[in-house]
């Protein structure tokens, strides 16, 4: 039996690849999320029009669109497992933490792929001033890590409830709020030329706190058949 260290690394890699292949085969999650992001973007920009002079409104709108796209799709990796009753198989081949890390990284890649499409469209549709790419990408990166960490943990919990995905938005919102607040504030600061250090530190601290908590909590998540 392989030692636990390297093998859980291999398990995470195997699970990540499986998640990507499942997503590629069914393509259900990505299509839904992209459609969701683009439609909510289009409707906001239609309603609000061009906002080149209001970085605070732009920052808020960008993150509302991204947050709701995330809320609509990040629970999917766990809900799919419980609906397909494949959680037993998962638990027999990997430790809870390895399962969670595999899915967390997948959710992270998922978020990035949504943003690759939504961000350029947003900047174009809303006529946003050119962003300070360094600061903006740093904020996006850290916010994505925190979002993925929080969403994966909450998804693992609600996937085992009666309503499954239905509860995800409401239950995860308080946990996602600090990420939303810091991301909006940071995005606004980068557009108005202010330093973004404080927001980056906050996002990093929250991501670390969540990851630390998850390492302790994932063992308690799957204990009954």
């Amino acid at each position: 039996m392989p030692a636990s260290g390297s093998s859980s690394g291999r398990a995470v890699w195997a699970i990540l690849r499986k998640e990507c292949r499942s997503e590629w085969r069914t393509r259900y999650g990505l299509n839904a999320a992209l459609l969701f992001a683009v439609t909510s973007l289009a409707s906001t920009s239609f309603a609000v029009g061009r906002m080149s002079d209001r970085p605070d409104v732009l920052a808020a709108l960008l993150w509302v669109v991204l947050l709701f796209a995330a809320l609509a799709s990040l629970a999917h990796t766990f809900v799919r497992e419980t609906e397909g009753h494949t959680m037993v198989l998962m638990r027999l081949v990997a430790s809870p933490t390895a399962i969670a890390m595999g899915k967390l990284i997948f959710n992270l890649l998922f978020l990035v792929s949504i943003e690759l499409v939504t961000l350029p469209l947003f900047l174009a549709f809303m006529g946003a001033p050119p962003p300070r790419w360094g600061a903006l990408l740093a904020i996006l990166a850290l916010a994505n890590v925190a979002l993925a960490a929080a969403a994966t943990l909450v998804a693992a919990v609600i996937a085992q409830t009666r309503g499954r995905g239905a509860l995800f938005a409401g239950v995860s919102f308080p946990v996602l709020l600090p990420v939303l607040a810091a991301a909006v504030s940071g995005t606004r600061a980068q557009w108005s030329g202010a330093p973004v250090g404080a927001e980056l530190r906050l996002l990093a601290a929250y991501a670390v706190a969540l990851l630390a908590a998850s390492l302790l909590l994932y063992d308690h998540l799957w204990e009954d058949a």
Partner: protein, 209 residues
């Protein structure tokens, strides 16, 4: 495989009550009892899928007690609640399982196991296209993936045709010589294969409130 004062309740219904035993592999053990007497519960507890309300189980491999936290490393489990990813083929499912467990030669190993349960020809088929009998064989292939010291089978004969049952019987007899095999079953033929037995109490579902 050793159990001490195992007790478990589903919500408020006592299913396992102060059950203790110790079985030495290799050999075949039948877990028998009426419906609802906790056969499946016991198998799931031994597989580390279910945390009991009381008591504990310890698996000794080569004389050393293994941590019950990652019990799944040491056992092969096949039960009705084990489902596979419908969007993947049988071979892909097994290969993924082998990779996740960090086993050597995952693809080759999976092909060997498919041959062993008579699914060699169906490896390329998507799981949702398999009949329930073939899906049951796939579960057996999964359980045998890394030659575990302990094999836990919950009603392995389900959905199998005669030819399938025949293959299952020879498989159990063969594996019984190499490792400890515990089978939860009410099927006479499977029960007959077992050298030892665990009779679960008659209290089960029939017990009046």
């Amino acid at each position: 495989m050793e159990a001490r004062a195992l007790t478990h309740r589903y919500g408020h219904r006592p299913v396992l009550d102060q059950l203790s035993f110790a079985f030495q592999g290799p050999g075949v053990v039948a877990v028998r009892g009426p419906n609802g007497s906790g056969k499946s519960t016991l198998i799931r507890v031994l597989a580390g899928l279910l945390r009991t309300s009381g008591g504990e189980t310890t698996l000794h491999v080569d004389g050393r007690a293994t941590p019950s936290r990652n019990r799944q490393r040491w056992i092969g489990y096949a039960g009705p609640d084990l489902s596979f990813y419908p969007e993947f083929t049988a071979l892909e499912n097994l290969t993924f399982a082998a990779e996740a467990r960090g086993l050597a030669r995952p693809a080759e190993r999976s092909r060997e196991r498919l041959e062993k349960v008579g699914l060699a020809a169906r490896g390329g088929e998507r799981v949702h296209a398999l009949s329930s009998g073939m899906a049951q064989r796939l579960r057996l292939a999964f359980a045998l993936l890394d030659d575990p010291p302990l094999l836990l089978l919950d009603e392995p004969g389900n959905h199998l045709d005669d030819e399938g049952r025949q293959a299952l019987a020879t498989l159990i007899r063969e594996e019984g010589t190499r490792r400890l095999v515990m089978i939860a079953t009410n099927d006479e033929r499977e029960g007959a294969l077992a050298g030892q037995r665990v009779e679960l109490g008659t209290r089960g579902l029939g017990d009046p409130a």
